[in-house]
């Protein structure tokens, strides 16, 4: 996979305050890469520099081969940006907004018209397209905000905390659409302070704190790096003997610890997938029927806690 984004020693100061302290990372084409960090970590600042809004104080980044500092115009054509704060004209309708922004991305005529309708369809607002954005719910506004970023079919999409402050349903829809877009070939740089989102979406995660990239890698790499265990959860039917199953599972060589909660057995293991088959075999031997299985990757929250001594969320 070719590299689409390469960030090298990027520094951004606001006056005396250094918001981004020399971070470096790459994103491969086709990846979803998450920047995970608490409030004020420097996520938006990083996106702002990468999207050519602010000039870097030092360091540089190249996107699809174009330097962000030397050839911003070329970079802008390649990237789509979904800003953290909704950036729309509230007194214009969704369709008018999409039309206007499409024009700013040099779309016109039939191509523009078709694309706007396509996006409206995609964000599920065709029926409401004639209403002013200010009459929309937060979730609907977020969807339009995302739609604008997609108009010109960018190859690299920056999404800055696109799910902040919306209901779980809209959030679900947005996360699913990110995965959809990625499946269709779009590379995504996603920032969030929700570790669940980073966990669900990304191939690789960069953990950012106080302007520094303190960890980088796949979730597995990150969690291993701090010695975190995975969790295997076996759900069983009500009338079954969970205690016996727990004992049997704990007896397995790779299982460090197993405990019972409600109608399930939770086992702590270094590699959940490895432990799955033996655990199911044990259940069969005991004649205990397993209804479903959960594998919980070790938690990025725990990684953050380990690295900083603080919780991810304030």
């Amino acid at each position: 996979m070719p590299t689409i984004l390469e960030v090298k020693d990027l520094v951004k100061k606001y006056g005396d305050f250094t918001a981004v302290k020399g971070i470096s990372f790459n994103i491969q084409e086709g990846e979803i890469f998450s920047l995970l960090g608490p409030n004020g970590a420097g996520k938006t600042t990083t996106i702002s520099v990468l999207s050519t809004l602010y000039a870097a104080t030092s360091g540089d980044a190249t996107i699809a081969g174009h330097s962000v500092s030397k050839d911003p115009m070329a970079v802008r054509k390649v990237i789509g940006v979904v800003p953290q704060e909704i950036a729309l004209y509230e007194d214009l309708t969704a369709r008018e907004n999409l039309n206007f922004w499409g024009q700013m991305y040099s779309l016109s005529g039939k191509a523009l018209k078709d694309r706007v309708e396509e996006i409206l369809e995609q964000i599920g607002l065709t029926d409401k397209a004639r209403d002013k954005v200010k009459t929309y719910s937060g979730g609907m506004k977020r969807r339009v905000n995302i739609g604008v970023g997609l108009l010109h079919k960018p190859s690299l999409l920056f999404m800055d905390e696109p799910t902040v402050g919306i209901d779980p349903q809209s959030r679900r829809a947005i996360l699913d659409s990110v995965k959809d877009l990625n499946r269709q070939g779009m590379t995504v740089l996603y920032t969030t302070h929700y570790m669940e989102e980073a966990a669900e979406l990304s191939n690789r995660v960069g953990i950012i704190d106080h302007g520094e990239l303190i960890a980088l890698g796949t979730q597995k790499e990150l969690t291993r790096q701090v010695g975190e265990m995975e969790t295997l959860v076996l759900h069983v039917d009500e009338m079954q003997d969970v205690q016996r199953l727990a004992k049997a599972v704990e007896a397995l060589e790779m299982v460090r610890h197993a405990e019972v909660s409600d109608h399930s057995v939770t086992a702590i293991v270094p590699e959940a997938e490895e432990a799955l088959a033996p655990a199911v075999t044990k259940a069969n031997e005991l004649g205990i029927k397993i209804r479903s299985v959960d594998i919980r990757e070790p938690n990025l929250e725990a990684v953050f806690l380990h690295l900083t001594g603080r919780a991810l969320r304030d």
Partner: protein, 416 residues
Amino acid sequence: MKKLFLIGLKDLKLIFRDPAALVLMLAAPFALTLGLGFVTGQFGGSGSGIGNIPVVIVNQDSGQLGAALVEMFQSEQLSDLVTATQLDDPTEAFQQVDDDLVAAAILVPAGFTDSVLPPAGQSAPGRTIQLQVYANPTRPTSVGVIKTILEEFVNRLEVARVGGTVAITQLIESGLVPPQEAAALAVELGQQQADSLAESNAITLTSNVASEAAVNFNPLAYIAPGMALMFLMYTASNAGRTLLLERDHGTLPRLLISPTASAQVLGGKIFGVYLSGVAQMLILIIASTLLFQLQWGDPLGVLALVLAAVFGATGWGMVITALAKRPGQVAAVGSVIMLTFGILGGSFINLEVMPVWVQFASKITPNAWGLDGFSTLALGGGLNLLGRPILALIVMGLALFAVALVFFNRRGMAMK
């Protein structure tokens, strides 16, 4: 360039969807115009900006026309508009102008009547002797009024003369009058006309649409441009404010990271201010024409003046925007400037009664130049007479844009 226009059009659309802005852009100038018009009534008050124009007449003519002119200036109909005094010595009269005691001195040279209406026995009139006006440059509006009254007088004279000639020719042709009596008859007819001139409603104080040359001294015609110009300043600063609002709402950064040159973004915003101002002025002008039969004058001149005045006002809007840090500051500074310029620019008080320094200071306002131009137009002047105000407004706009640009740079636009 295309994106610049698109951004401007978008802003025009937005401002017309903002009820608060519409109230101040369109409703307020209308309401104030009507209110002030109501308060000042005709020309009784000084508030309407024009009235009791001091003028001195030196009548060296012994004929009837000179007397008719003096009589006309001292007539009942014009008593509110002009205060005419008579002097014998032209030098003294000119001195009064130089001392700014009067707006103009009118000199009716000896032999004026005879040159227009030759005495009996002299068939063909010689070269017409011209009326002379010695104008006070610091009172352009008043001078405009005086000149218009005089033009009207001369026009009537011409009509009378032509009318007389036609009448006589017809009489001769019909054989009712022998040619040798024609000259005497012509003089008689002319004198009748001249006599009736002072009586006739030569100058109309209220709306008179009958004759194009008729001067329309509807007080609203003075108040309306003043109010329109004052609230044009609101539009200029408010629309400039949207630049800061867009910065705060994130749409400006979003524009700046689209493949659109920052110059186009800024240009588009300025174009939006300009479009809004032009739209506002044209709506006010057209609506007042339709609703109050207000006569703004030569449409081409009005359009040119509007384009120039909005340019000057937009320059101010951009300077205010460039210097301000928050949208609220623009709004606050904008309304102070709107009022100051309104007063300085003569929207409320006739500048001619203000101290010299105020008149001088007024030159930095688009209001004063605009009002100057609109007065010229309302008094029947055309585009050809608007050179000075239009040039001044354009120079003002360019200078202010230059100042604004110094303060704007890409970074400044995005984050201040």
